[in-house]
């Protein structure tokens, strides 16, 4: 990985707290390790404080009490880091945009929430916009299409950064699908509570993905990826679905999302 201004030369790199997100933590740890690799390659010192969830499921269900309790836990555990980085626009958006709103009438917590918000970034935008990373050392053979997850796109302006980095992956060809910026129908608990509507939306998304003729679908949020991968798998499509960090880090040994593990010799 190369950066325009390499901060690690002059001084120790920034101390980054990885907010791994509850989905990556539980469902797909390999995304967390890919994020660590990208951050360390860019000169960061990465730490992983104890964590569970940013509170978004409770927040979007109208349960402010639980949301506040979880937000306070995150604010407390992520004190002292130069930056907090999440491989998710949704969770980073929750901390950046919604924590200050959540505590807007609390003079004790608001400054702490705002301080954390200012230090928190989505992974690809952190690499490109903050660390000025311009190039990754990775190889991926395939036609890749990128889905813009809603929160990252509209709350944090993540769109150009992942594409910019993907274009530096050797062997990778980026092809745009139609309506890449339209919701995949995940919406957290929406996907279960309004499953039929969610399905109608992800069906359309799957059509666009397939029509792009890409063999691989990438995005920056595991929730959306699980939704799209689950739909493509149910439809019997062979599209490989991965988190963008896996490809940028060159860590694609693990089976794609919702896909059977390839038979491999050696380590499990």
């Amino acid at each position: 990985m190369t950066a325009e201004a390499a901060p690690e030369v002059a001084r120790p790199g920034p101390r980054v707290g990885l907010f791994v997100t509850c989905l990556v933590d539980l469902m797909r740890p390999s995304v967390g390790f890919a994020a660590v690799k990208l951050l360390e390659d860019a000169g960061c010192m990465v730490e992983v404080p104890v964590q569970t969830c940013c509170g978004q499921p409770a927040y979007n269900s109208g349960d402010r009490g639980t949301t506040r309790a979880l937000a306070e836990q995150v604010i407390e555990n992520f004190r002292g880091f130069d930056y907090v980085v999440a491989p998710s626009g949704s969770c980073a958006g929750m901390i950046r945009k919604h924590y200050p709103e959540l505590f807007h009438d609390d003079p004790n917590w608001l400054p702490r929430a705002s301080d954390l918000a200012a230090r928190t970034h989505e992974l690809t935008s952190f690499l490109v916009d903050v660390l000025k990373v311009r190039h990754v050392e990775a190889r991926y053979e395939g036609h890749v299409t990128y889905h813009d997850s809603c929160s990252g796109l509209r709350e944090l302006g993540v769109a150009r950064q992942p594409r910019q980095l993907l274009k530096t992956v050797a062997g990778l060809e980026l092809v745009e699908m139609q309506e890449s910026d339209v919701c995949c129908g995940f919406g957290g608990t929406f996907a279960v509570k309004y499953g039929e509507i969610s399905d109608a939306i992800v069906t359309k998304k799957a059509e666009n993905i397939t029509a792009s003729e890409a063999d691989t679908l990438l995005a920056g949020d595991l929730g959306c990826l699980m939704n799209m991968a689950g739909k493509l798998a149910r439809e019997g499509k062979a599209t490989k679905v991965r988190h963008v960090a896996e490809v940028l880090a060159g860590m694609t040994d693990e089976a794609p999302i919702a896909a059977a593990a390839a038979r491999r010799s050696g380590s499990a």
């Binding site: 469902m27 740890p29 569970t52 969830c53 639980t66 309790a69 499953g195 039929e196 149910r234």
Partner: protein
């Protein structure tokens, strides 16, 4: 009588809509029709984003001084020879309009497009008084023929295909050549014009909505593309304007600012074809115009939104951009929302007007993708306000019991990281096993809403945090 809401049955409505092939075909036009046109219109105007800010600020200012501007507006209308009537409820508004029509012994009442008329159920009320309301906006005319409510606030018949409209015209327009060609939208429009022309001339009272009420001049303004509004309001004995109180703006200068974002956001036009200003009745020497000019200003729950989390919703200028860009609206159409206002703006406004106990589904049936807010010309934070409704529901225990108990169990563990690690560790290992070598599950207990339609990706096994701590311990040991 106002439209009986079917919003409590939102899920059933949506299920029906998703299985309706005609509707799904028609909804394809919404996706394609509006979105690109808005983008191009906005790109052609470099100051578009700044104009959105200024439209927001004008509406905020007006709402902050609404009492003042309402009084000023009333004075100006009166000075121009018109009458202002304040209606607290839908019933009061219907009664006021009914009384005017009765006094004028109206038989036929022509109507321009008015969502307020839909909200108060005016057509049914007038029919009850023995009068015939005639919708003159093409879309409204079509749905009146079909006895349906509008499915979109600016394109009321957008849920229909042109084939369906042609078949309705053949059914209703008797005495025309049976073999006439009705395949093109323009021939449908021509036929409606021909039929409506006589109705315009016969009408005793004309009713229109209003896009703006201008406090400084007492002017009401409508924007249309068909010119039906002009004929509706100038030909009859009286013109009645129906508007809700948040349509006020202070000055004509303010209107000219907001007009620049209205049509661009709605249809991608720089301006709508007609922008019609009405100030009072016909004056001596005027060649035409109504003999009487009335404005009925409806509250119906809106003033109760002032000073609450929902005040910003009163900025809405009814352009329809939010629904044009909404994936849920694209999937199910407007009727599924079950009342007058569909899409994201309906999901916020409807609970305010008919109660969140009836409309509770609407603010929940959103992925919070935020596209609505990103295109709103007056920058209404629609997802945020839908979330506020979810909070009200949660506080009032209207959230379904299964969701509440699920949240509380999850919340209990999520606040206790050690317990959480134990519980989720077990659960993820079980799921990973259940996924077997396939990497996915076709069925997951408690998540039927997911697995009925798509597979559930299996977890990789041990959690990231567990692996990380091990790896760090190894690194240190090494």
């Amino acid at each position: 009588m106002t439209l009986h809401p079917t919003s409590p049955k939102f899920k059933e409505n949506a299920h029906q809509a998703l299985g309706d092939t005609q509707l799904q075909k028609a909804l394809g036009n919404v996706r394609q029709g509006f979105i690109d046109k808005r983008v191009h219109a906005a790109e052609r105007l470099p100051e578009f984003e700044a104009l959105r800010d200024s439209a927001r600020d004008i509406k905020n200012h007006t709402l902050a001084h609404l009492d003042l501007y309402l009084e000023r507006y009333e004075q100006a209308v009166t000075a121009a020879g018109g009458h202002v009537h304040f209606a607290r409820t839908a019933k009061e508004a219907c009664d006021i309009v009914g009384a005017i029509c009765r006094r004028l012994e109206a038989k036929t009442v022509t109507k321009g497009k008015s969502m307020i008329a839909e909200e108060i159920g005016l057509n049914a009320h007038l029919e009850g008084l023995g009068m015939e309301p005639v919708e003159t906006d093409l879309g409204e005319y079509i749905i009146q023929l079909r006895n349906e409510p509008p499915s979109h606030i600016i394109a009321p018949a957008v849920h229909l295909t042109k084939e369906q409209v042609a078949s309705d015209f053949r059914r209703v327009h008797k005495g025309l050549d049976k073999d006439r060609d009705l395949t093109e939208p323009v021939t449908l429009l021509g036929e409606a014009r021909q039929v409506l022309r006589e109705r315009f001339l016969a009408a005793d009272v004309g009713i229109t909505g209003a896009n703006f009420l201008v406090a400084e001049t007492g002017t009401s303004i409508i924007v249309t593309n068909e010119g039906n509004g002009d004929l509706t309001q100038t030909l009859p004995k009286a013109h009645i304007v129906l508007a809700s109180l948040e349509k006020l703006v202070p000055t004509l200068e303010d209107v000219s600012q907001i007009l620049r974002v209205l049509a661009r956001s709605a249809t991608g036009q720089d301006m709508s074809v007609y922008t019609t200003f009405s100030t009072g009745p016909r004056r001596p020497g005027d060649p035409d115009g109504p003999g009487e000019y009335h404005v009925v200003i409806l509250d119906n729950g809106r003033s109760a939104m002032l000073g609450t989390d929902f005040q910003d919703m009163l900025r809405c200028i009814r352009c329809g951009a939010c629904m044009n860009h909404c994936p849920v609206y694209h999937a199910v159409g407007g009727h599924a929302y079950g009342w007058v206002y569909p899409g994201p703006m309906g999901a916020v406004l409807t609970p305010s007007l008919i109660g969140v106990d009836k409309a509770g589904h609407l603010p929940n049936a959103s992925t919070f993708c935020g596209r609505c807010e990103s295109v709103c010309p007056v920058r209404i934070p629609l997802p945020k306000m839908m979330r506020h409704w979810r909070e009200r529901e949660f506080e009032r225990h209207l959230t379904p019991a299964t969701v509440r108990s699920g949240l509380s169990v999850w919340g209990f563990f999520a606040r206790r990281p050690t317990l959480y690690r134990l519980a989720t560790g077990l659960a993820m290992r079980a799921l990973a096993l259940a996924g077997g070598g396939k990497g996915r599950l076709r069925w997951l207990p408690g998540a039927g809403g997911w697995t009925r339609y798509r597979d559930f990706p299996a977890p990789q096994g041990a959690s990231f945090q567990e692996r990380w701590r091990k790896e760090r311990a190894n690194r240190k040991a090494a």
